[in-house]
């Protein structure tokens, strides 16, 4: 049984603060310590072989692409931008790095807890959406296979197009898979590839 105590708790998680030493870094480290997050300050770059961490805070004012071991917005963890300037160019860069939340400088006694919750949530949502989009793309790419499978059923079993579609749907449902997976399975199992070949 898993806990139903859902209050966000960051104790024991890890974070990197990619920022020069100074008041803002100190304030973030102090807040992280209160939350039980094991945090390290680092500047100017995160080495390629750096151990994985749960969160990265980064300086949006003086940051640049080469600081990160990953390209573009492909960070494998939630990112929190520490933003002092509101110059549009810096905001644009912060967005290009895929910041999930931001913390305004000067940093005081609060803000890190909310930033961790928001960034964690946004990151998770982003990951879910990315998975969903991958899935949709794959299914979209295999739409022709569905058409081939229907053609195959019509030819082999003498069904009209409506009955063939119904049959394919039944196969998908009974196998608890998508109609694209059912189409692929049918074509593989029954040597229906010749339909694909002829169509191709």
């Amino acid at each position: 049984m898993t806990s139903r105590f859902r209050t966000p708790n960051f104790r024991g998680t890890t974070a990197l603060v990619l920022h020069r030493e100074g008041a803002a870094t100190d304030a973030v480290l102090r807040q992280l310590e209160r939350l039980g997050v094991i945090a390290t300050q680092i500047w100017p770059t995160i080495p390629q072989d750096h151990a994985a961490v749960d969160f990265v805070f980064f300086d949006a004012d003086r940051g640049y692409d080469e600081q990160f071991p990953w390209g573009g917005d492909a960070a494998p963890m939630p990112l929190i931008a520490m933003l002092g300037t509101e110059a549009p160019g810096r905001i644009e860069w912060m967005l290009s790095r895929g910041a999930d939340a931001q913390l305004l400088k000067p940093v005081g006694s609060a803000g890190v807890f909310a930033a961790l919750v928001v960034a964690g949530h946004a990151f998770q949502r982003r990951q879910e959406l990315a998975r969903e989009i991958d899935d949709m793309r794959s299914r979209l790419a295999r739409r022709p296979h569905v058409a081939f499978a229907i053609l195959h059923l019509m030819e082999r079993e003498g069904l009209d197009r409506h009955a063939a579609l119904r049959r394919l749907r039944q196969l998908a449902m009974s196998g608890q898979r998508t109609i694209e997976d059912a189409a692929d399975a049918l074509l593989t199992a029954t040597g229906g590839q010749d339909v694909v070949a002829r169509a191709g």
């Binding site: 139903r4 105590f5 960051f10 807040q31 005081g108 006694s109």
Partner: protein, 387 residues
């Protein structure tokens, strides 16, 4: 020649939480009188702000008071909204705020000293006691603001974690006494206990109506289905009267604490004309002023940058016992006591934690009970009977 150290006290003597604020102000003034008669080489010179319970007046009034007096130390605030309103002013003036009330946590400001209980010192041990003795079917009621929202949210999670169920949850506007619909629901659902996070007149009306319900149907007697609270103290018993008898409250302080420190303190208060019983709100403000005064005496300054490291590195002798303020969070370690309201405005203490509990304002040390089956029992056992 004694120097004068200005000190701003911010309490609303009218409005929905006036009873708590008056108790706190009395506590601050009692400490102030002691300090000024103690033969120290300074006198505390108080400036009292009374925002009359209007949240938007706190910022303006405190700002004006700090400008006028040049004070760098502030004692006050009852509600979290008023504290949040004061924080920007405190920052601007590089002052230090002493906050002595139980609150909902999720804050650890560098310029605030927290001497009241946070959730791991109130709602967590309160529910640990109640869930295992009265059952898991809970009804949550509160005034419609952050104290109740957040305390009830934590309660919901603790109750769910325990395998219990929230059978109803209702909020009423601050100051409203329209609670008949809530009593109807309680009558229908028969919860094992009611968590009362109402404040002021709403709470008084609710307790009176709960008493009436218990009088007409013994199944709702407090011994069977108690109303439990994290902020019901002696300072409201005039307004509550007999209606609260038998119900439960958890607090870091009760007038009836049998400890030597408290007996000495109460004798001193009584001698100086303070009306008994005193409450956690009185004592929270009292110890704020006393701890501050001792630190000024030790360091010769009221500069917050000097005072804060001193007060978080000393142990303080207080009516609550030996008290330590955690330098990591600026929160006091406190010993929760569970009290049952008895006749004549006394809380009968039925359990106390064995030792002060370090404040965990973000609940980041909480171990989910169902992941670690033994921990719930440990929490229960941590409350031992002192009487």
């Amino acid at each position: 020649v004694q120097s004068r150290v200005p000190l701003v006290l911010v309490y609303s003597r009218s409005g929905p939480y006036a009873a708590l604020a008056r108790a706190a102000l009395d506590g601050a003034l009692a400490a102030l009188a002691e300090v000024n008669n103690a033969g120290f080489d300074f006198r505390l010179s108080p400036e009292i702000c009374d925002p009359a319970g209007a949240t938007d007046r706190y910022e303006i009034m405190l700002d004006a008071a700090l400008r006028r007096s040049g004070a760098r130390q502030v004692v006050g605030g009852i509600t979290s909204w008023s504290r949040k309103e004061m924080l920007p002013v405190i920052e601007r003036h590089r002052a230090l705020l002493w906050y002595g009330c139980p609150y909902e946590g999720f804050e650890a400001h560098d310029r605030v000293v927290y001497l009241g209980a946070s959730p791991n010192q109130h709602i967590v041990p309160l529910l640990a006691h109640v869930l295992s003795r009265y059952g898991g079917r809970a009804y949550l009621v509160g005034s419609n603001y952050i104290w109740a929202w957040e305390t009830n949210r934590i309660a919901r999670e603790l109750i769910a974690d325990h395998g219990g169920q929230v059978v109803g949850e209702r909020y009423v506007p601050l100051g409203s006494t329209d609670i008949a619909h809530i009593i109807d629901e309680i009558r229908r659902h028969k919860p094992d206990f009611v968590l009362n996070n109402l404040i002021g007149p709403s709470s008084y009306a609710f307790l009176a109506a709960s008493r009436e319900l218990a009088n007409t149907d013994p199944d709702f007697a407090p011994a069977r289905r108690p109303v439990i609270s994290c902020n019901l103290t002696e300072c409201e018993l005039n307004e509550i009267g007999e209606a609260g008898i038998g119900h439960l409250s958890i607090s870091a302080y009760f007038d009836s604490l049998p400890t030597d420190e408290n007996q000495v303190f109460l004798a001193r208060m009584q001698a100086s004309g303070v009306r008994r019983p005193v409450s956690a709100f009185f004592v929270g403000a009292y110890i704020s002023v006393r701890i501050l005064a001792e630190a000024i005496r030790e360091t010769g300054t009221d500069d917050p940058e000097v005072i804060l490291p001193i007060v978080t590195s000393r142990r303080h002798q207080t009516p609550l016992g030996d008290l330590h303020i955690d330098p990591a969070t600026n929160h006091a370690a406190l010993t929760p006591h569970l009290g049952r309201l008895a006749a004549e405005g006394r809380f009968e203490i039925i359990e106390s934690a064995a030792a002060p509990i370090v404040a965990d304002p973000y609940l980041s040390h909480r171990i989910p009970t169902s992941n670690r089956p033994a921990s719930h029992h440990r929490a229960v056992c941590a409350l031992r009977i002192v009487q």
